[in-house]
Symmetry: C2
Subunit: 323 residues, 2 copies
Amino acid sequence: MSRVVGLEEIRGLLPGVDLLKIIEEGFVAYSQGQVVVPPVGELVFDDPPGEAHIKYGYVKGHPYYVIKVASGFYDNAKLGLPTGQGLMLVFSQQTGVLEAVLLDEGYLTDMRTAAAGAVAARHLAPLEVRRIGILGAGVQARLQLDLLRGVVSCRRALVWAPEPEEREPYLKAFALSDFEVEMAEKASDVARECNLIVTATPATTPLLRAGEIKPGTHITAIGSDTAEKIELDPEILGKADLVVVDSLPQSESRGEVFRAVEAGTLARERVKELGAVIAGRNPARENPQSLTVCDLTGVAVQDIQIATAILREKYKKESRRRP
Amino acid sequence: MSRVVGLEEIRGLLPGVDLLKIIEEGFVAYSQGQVVVPPVGELVFDDPPGEAHIKYGYVKGHPYYVIKVASGFYDNAKLGLPTGQGLMLVFSQQTGVLEAVLLDEGYLTDMRTAAAGAVAARHLAPLEVRRIGILGAGVQARLQLDLLRGVVSCRRALVWAPEPEEREPYLKAFALSDFEVEMAEKASDVARECNLIVTATPATTPLLRAGEIKPGTHITAIGSDTAEKIELDPEILGKADLVVVDSLPQSESRGEVFRAVEAGTLARERVKELGAVIAGRNPARENPQSLTVCDLTGVAVQDIQIATAILREKYKKESRRRP
């Protein structure tokens, strides 16, 4: 029978995975056309309101194909349940046999999203990060800071929480860590103080204005993954020296780049793909005064890579246990 | 943690399900527009050749939504593995929570397909079935005969096997049953002898000719579920008094009706949907001399219904076990 891996076991396996490396490899394969990712399947529910997405695909020549189901049911909080639900299925690309059911409850999606932010920072952040700025104070805003530990040496962070009640839990989460975290009064304080900024909010109106951003700053925009959400003034992308996205096709219908192109501040042909930047075929950061923006909307290759890595790690542990 | 139900347990639960009833209810809900079924997701693999399909959806107002993954990897036989692989996932429509993973390995798909044939016979077969004819001798051709037991009293069957080596296993499968099974030399023998015929082969050229079919016959065509497969001469559908399909939209691109409309023998507006026939809004069988054809290509509502029923049956058994 196929392996069924629960959340606790998945949490135990992930530290054995070189997360940033596999996500980088995924982006490179994606930008090189080695990844088959059909359009996302979608179910919408009216009562109670909810939606489910099915993302699936494979890297050509790899051993597995992956199907991810992720849903959002917005009344779940009333029932004491997480809004997000989901799982990942890993199948053999050779035989179709179901190798594993990863009952990750959305954890692997959170982690692969956080890892993409760290990968963007590794390739685009200023060489000397003065202070890390985080807009947002939810799960993803915590993970973004947490995973930056592996790619920048700066340990000072300024965080702006959209909701005041999020401040305490955020500070608490990092209280015993090596990060020195302060909370900002306004989003513009973050723009003034920080030269590596990550935005991870569900905002639908811009949080940062072009005039506030200092030269030499890199911004990674995580929150906007639909046509409606937006965190950055389109002028910021307009004046950026380099604009990068995880997926050029997706940037035609969602995210900051979609909005900036629509607003007429950004020419589409100026946008580079992250996998190409990683592979070194694009000038990433030309001078210390450049403003760079990386807009991530999330691509299925991240799911494929993280699910595959968890299964490999499980097999590795199992084979070690054998005499 | 979500329930994970293996094949053996599923086999044990299915007898507690009123299979024909739930499939009938599914077809009726589908024909009444109560079922949300987005387009099928598809992955194609080149080396080795294979394909995976993702079918999903829900009946409005029901407690669950269902995602089914089914694949065919055609080199599996060389490895001693079944060509078909798959599973069904059952989620709450209220919260998105994954209720159960049904590791059915394609069994529930076989059973819901067989049940649709029995449902078609219940509503369209002649009142007096002289002899049951089966074209095909694979798993589905066995299940079709097996499930007809619940809807017709006739226990005499004449079976044509496309491959001679399939004859013995088929006869053996029914040796101890209440069916008296004989093997036919030619498909046309079945047409001559039988007035309830089920075709369940992967044929790509017609097996039955219009001139061979006697008045008062009902034919259920199971095998053709793509644009390429065909079991019935398009003239048969042309001269039929009633032509029924499980899904009008699907019949526009696959199956016998698609081919007959394309060949110009059948006018699309003459075709009725099975759910409407079951609900009694169509004249099913007007006189004992009518020729009727039911073309089934398989719809996701069957998967939704059978997966839901298995989960309900499991919950029922669990609650019985509690003191």
